[in-house]
């Protein structure tokens, strides 16, 4: 294309993006079309990808397409395999995209649509995408080593240990909060409980089919599995309407929590082919299919956003979680903008497939852009709901009261009018008995998605769409839950193996049972407390998860910054240094407030003290008084965990600064572990796979 024409096109994209974003930002009081969100996002992503990412790759990282990648040099036909870039992109995206970008924006919508949307866009292009791309690059240059190993080799033992502890802690908190989200979606909903339970035997059927009936026929087995899943969504209605069958699937939160713990334990010790692998296939297809469907539906329907740009809850009094806009919108959005967890996939896993360094931009930066786009769609699905409906679903009984009249009065008084009839009609349309206080984000996202799908593809099937959306979320939440429990088990076996080598044997039954029980007990404890907590639990667990995930991102960015400085690229260190600084500011501020705030909805210690005083003075109702000691203990524990996270964060930062300072001052530092240049022989290969 002619150069002037090309420049003109980019100028047009810039103008279009700026207008769309400006329109979203300054709009007040009028309903705004969701299409503007999509346009703003796509323009910003294109510009960032074409200019910022390309500049980082060419100038800062100096990617070298003549250099053989680990996949080529160490090719073994098993895990190191040079693979076509689109295939690697598919694997990478399927691995990084989990429930985080769906839940975070849904919760953050309590501040209005604007703050969350801005952070999803800005945080991704300047932070998350850069982190993923730089980590992918560094690992590719270091024989596909893991983040922990790189931290240890390049910064020192402290960095490596910190990465290991951070990963393990995130896993525990993440699984607990995900478990809680599924429990809240299934509580007293026989339809949802049946559909979610059915995913387990369906996965097993698929597993046996692939392994024994028709070995290796992956697509055939998956097609059968997807059909069975859809049948279970439709069949759930019959179960819910059946007098005796419904009782089998109608449970309290606590019963469901125990079942999930038993399930997690079983998944961690059963062979992967039976449950984990087939379930992962199903969840990947459903995930990619549903996200595509949602994008198509939003484009077709172009729904109006009903949530205001900014709500009064930026002052910290929000019903879904307490805390001011700064820093809690950043902590809450988490994975849609920047996720430390991705650095674990970008190092170790994806580099083993990468056939050429020039694919790093598309896979590292591009993969995260797509994840950010998923977060934008979740934000749209949450904000197309009437704000009254959104708050009624997501506010816990502890905040708005446990009976419907109290809840609607309180929510209407905030300026978001809602009536009991409206909620009852909605619940009936969705095939549920009630939608009040279904916290955790999954049900409100499902209502949002159902209303978008319903309007785009026919209104008659709202209840089916709702339960399809619940199944969609639950299936990959459970995949993260069981895969995470298993990884946690392996990590613990690895750690304990240093003390007692026998424990490190991954197939020694006593070790398997012991470590799996510890991991399940770890997240099971937080899940249990979350379920009995009248304030819903998500308000405590999600910020804790956000802090932990941002901490892991800070470790990845520290490794990146440290290596850039060590390799004489101090002037470019800002590309990772600036997002790192911002993360340190928000994580430290959030942690500080969670520990010291006198507001009982934010500060863990003040909430514990307040509850202890009320318990001592006998003003608590009997039901709450009986659980109060457990809640007090948990609040104190949460405060200490937060303190631990933030101390770990600062240790890593100081260690990284020490390495940078020594390098700048010309003092000896650990040598670079970058592997030697070797000419790629794949350059001429036609498809590079």
């Amino acid at each position: 294309m002619d150069k002037t024409l090309k420049s003109g096109l980019w100028v047009l994209i810039a103008i279009l993006g700026a207008s769309a974003l400006g329109g979203i930002a300054i709009n007040r009081g009028e309903n705004i079309n969701a299409l503007w969100f999509i346009v703003a996002a796509l323009c910003i992503y294109s510009l960032a990808y074409r200019f910022y990412a390309a500049w980082i790759a060419a100038t800062v990282l100096a990617v070298d397409f003549t250099r053989a990648t680990p996949a080529e040099r160490l090719e073994n036909g098993r895990d190191f395999i040079p693979t076509h870039k689109w295939i690697v992109f598919g694997h990478h995206f399927a691995a990084i995209a989990g429930p985080g970008p769906l839940v975070g924006p849904t919760l953050a919508a309590q501040f209005g649509y604007l703050p969350g949307t801005l952070w999803i866009l800005v945080g991704a292009v300047l932070g998350g995408c850069v982190q993923d791309m730089v980590t992918l690059f560094l690992s590719t240059r270091r024989d596909a080593k893991s983040l922990g190993q790189m931290a240890k080799d390049e910064l020192g033992a402290l960095g490596g240990t910190a990465a290991l502890i951070a990963t393990f802690s995130i896993m525990i908190i993440l699984i607990a909060v995900l478990g809680l989200i599924v429990v809240n979606a299934m509580k007293h909903s026989p339809w949802a409980t049946f559909t979610v339970s059915a995913t387990i035997p369906i996965a097993m059927i698929v597993g046996v089919y692939m392994r024994y009936l028709r070995p290796g026929q992956v697509l055939e087995a998956s097609a059968i599995g997807v059909c069975l899943l859809l049948l279970s969504v439709v069949g759930g209605r019959n179960v819910a309407e059946h007098e005796t069958l419904r009782l089998l699937f109608d449970h309290e939160g606590l019963t469901l929590a125990w079942s999930i713990m038993i399930y997690g334990f079983a998944a961690a010790i059963l062979p992967v082919w039976l449950l984990l692998a087939p379930r992962d296939y199903l969840s990947t297809y459903i995930k990619i299919g549903t996200i595509t469907l949602l994008a198509v539906a939003i484009l077709l329907l172009q729904p109006s956003i009903k949530m205001p740009a900014i709500t009064q809850f930026i002052d910290g009094s929000g019903p879904i979680f307490g805390g001011k806009l700064f820093p809690f919108v950043f902590i809450t959005i988490a994975c849609g903008a920047i996720s430390g967890f991705h650095s674990l996939i970008s190092s170790g896993t994806t580099p083993k497939l990468l056939s050429n360094e020039r694919d790093i931009v598309m896979i590292g930066y591009g993969g995260m852009l797509l994840e950010s786009f998923v977060a934008i769609m979740a934000m749209i699905a949450a904000t197309v709901l009437d704000p009254g409906v959104y708050f009624a679903i997501n506010s816990s009984a502890g905040i708005v009261g446990s009976n419907a009249i109290d809840a609607v009065t309180k929510i209407s008084a905030w300026g978001y009018p809602i009536t009991i009839e409206q909620m009852q009609n909605l619940a009936q349309q969705m095939g549920e008995s009630t939608l009040f206080a279904r916290t955790g984000g999954a049900p409100s996202l499902a209502v949002g998605m159902a209303s978008i799908f319903g309007k785009a593809f026919g209104d008659g099937l709202l209840a089916i769409w709702y339960h399809f959306a619940i199944m969609f979320e639950a299936i990959f939440i459970l995949t993260t839950l069981d895969a995470g429990t298993r990884v946690g088990r392996f990590m613990l076996q690895d750690i304990l193996g240093n003390i007692w080598p026998k424990m490190g044997e991954t197939s020694w039954t006593p070790s398997v049972i012991f470590t799996s029980s510890i991991v399940v007990a770890g997240w099971g404890y937080f899940l249990y407390i979350g379920v009995i907590d009248p304030n819903g639990g998500v308000n405590i667990l999600w910020p804790l998860f956000g802090i932990a995930n941002q901490m892991l991102a800070a470790i990845a960015l520290s490794v990146g910054t440290g290596i850039l400085v060590k390799s004489g690229k101090l002037k470019y260190a800002g590309i990772t240094g600036l997002p790192l600084t911002w993360l340190v500011i928000i994580t430290s501020t959030a942690a500080w407030q969670k520990i010291t705030s006198p507001d009982i909805r934010i500060g863990f210690f003040s909430a514990a003290n307040d509850l202890a005083e009320k318990l001592a003075s006998g003003t608590l109702p009997a039901a709450k008084a009986s659980i109060a000691p457990q809640l007090i203990l948990n609040l104190q524990l949460d405060a200490w965990i937060t303190l631990f996270f933030v101390s770990l964060l600062w240790l890593i930062i100081i260690d990284m600064l020490r390495v940078c300072w020594r390098s700048i001052a010309g003092k000896p530092v650990l040598p670079s572990t970058e592997s030697k240049h070797m000419q790629s022989r794949l350059l001429d290969a036609w498809i590079r796979d």
């Binding site: 098993r78 691995a95 290796g216 692998a277 967890f341 990884v487």
Partner: protein, 66 residues
């Protein structure tokens, strides 16, 4: 969409899902054995055996995120 494009798309789906993993393995295996013409010609694994190994290896380490 033309037929070749659809075929290419189907290829991508098969490769992504691992549906053609055994075919890739066989191709690699024969290539390897052409290069090193060893006297002891080992046989490739059967589809069932290969799939077991492939699936178990695929599930080592962190594969899924939040």
């Amino acid at each position: 969409m033309t037929i070749p494009k659809l075929k290419y798309f189907w290829q991508i789906i098969r490769r992504l899902s691992g549906d053609d993993a055994y075919e890739v393995y066989l191709k690699n295996f024969h290539n390897e054995h052409c290069h090193h013409d060893s006297t002891e010609r080992s046989k490739p694994l059967s589809k069932g055996e290969f799939f077991k190994q492939w699936q178990d290896e695929k599930w080592q380490g962190i594969k899924r995120c939040c």
